[in-house]
């Protein structure tokens, strides 16, 4: 098994799934080696979460591998909601 001693890997590995209603989803990281957590939900819900990252100063977003071109269009819609807030 591949093991990392990085702080982020340890932090994410020890993180439990958040409460119902949260878009924050750890299953891809825990089971599929995606190397990053996921946000899942409607454009409004994911946009609201992205807005919090924007307000904390994040301006650069590195997404995971898109499975189809529509993924990026849907993502754009969520960012539009985030930037409108």
């Amino acid at each position: 098994m591949k093991v990392s001693d990085s702080v982020w890997h340890g932090q994410l590995s020890g993180m439990e799934q958040t409460a119902d209603g949260s878009p924050y989803w750890m299953v891809p990281f825990q089971n599929y080696k995606t190397m990053c957590p996921y946000l899942v939900g409607s454009h409004e819900r994911v946009g609201a979460e992205l807005a919090r990252y924007l307000s904390s100063g994040c301006r650069t977003f590195i997404l995971d591998v898109p499975r189809e071109p529509g993924d990026l269009e849907q993502t754009e819609a969520a960012f539009e909601r985030a930037l409108d807030q």
Binding site: Q11, N31, K33, S42, T60, F61, L72, F79, L83
Partner: protein, 247 residues
């Protein structure tokens, strides 16, 4: 197209998940989707099991018009001079800007297999020294001389010089204090793996500087559609976990 107030990067598919014969085609396909959507660039990450990130980046540059490869750079893989040479070669051959994702860590087994047992925080010290050499070479103002702890160069000059508008974007990945300090020291964008946003409303430790996150998104018009798609792609049962197409 993504709003110009933010910079969005996608990620290149890893070579381990594809039929080798189909992989190059898949890379170019994802790169073109990303460019069409308005992404600034695409992350090409690396570990010991994957194809070389610089050569995969060449497929991306040749298959697109503006998309910038964000190449993962780990000091154990190559000398800083070679990184600078790669960047200026891309600039010269393609007129394309490269972004560098400077990585101090990685899989422990990968690093040990390369004889690298440098402790965590010292790997960030090494990353700062390494990246400083790359920056000085690319700035081209004068030959670079450094008797560092990890690298020594003597009146080293990079040729051809890089046009100023193609100077690489610089990211440092790391969520530890050592990682954030390295990013600040290098005036790089600090890339973290996000915690739930309610825990991330303040810059970490009050640290300033440009920040970014690496995160996957599955979003649709409705909650139900999004969660159905998410669970179809990443089933939580054991059968799904073992599926070869999981990446």
């Amino acid at each position: 197209m993504f709003d110009p107030r933010i910079e969005v990067f996608s990620t290149c598919p890893p070579s381990s998940g594809d039929d080798p014969r189909a992989y190059a085609e898949h890379v170019v396909q994802v790169a073109r989707w990303s460019e069409r959507a308005g992404c600034k660039g695409i992350l090409v990450y690396s570990d010991n099991s994957l194809l070389d990130a610089w050569l995969v980046s060449q497929l991306i540059v040749e298959g697109t018009r503006t998309l910038c490869p964000l190449v993962a750079v780990q000091p154990v893989y190559m000398h800083p001079y070679t990184v600078a040479k790669m960047v200026t070669t891309y600039a010269s051959l393609y007129g394309r800007r490269i972004y560098l994702n400077m990585v101090a860590g990685g899989f422990k087994n990968d690093l040990e297999a390369l004889g690298d047992r440098t402790p965590h925080d010292r790997r960030y010290e090494r990353l700062v020294e390494y990246t400083s050499i790359i920056r000085q070479l690319l700035s081209g103002r004068k030959p670079v001389t450094l008797a560092g702890e990890y690298h020594q160069v003597d009146k080293l000059r990079l040729s051809p010089p890089i046009p100023p508008d193609l100077f690489p974007g610089l990211f440092v990945s790391g969520s530890s204090e050592a990682g954030r300090a390295a990013a600040r020291s290098l005036e790089a964008v600090a890339i973290e793996y996000p915690k739930p946003a309610q825990d991330a409303t303040e810059p970490s430790n009050g640290a300033g500087g440009a920040r970014g996150i690496r995160v996957g998104l599955i979003t649709q018009r409705s909650e139900d559609e999004a969660w159905k798609l998410a669970r179809d792609r990443f089933p939580e049962d054991r059968k799904g976990q073992l599926a070869p197409s999981s990446r």
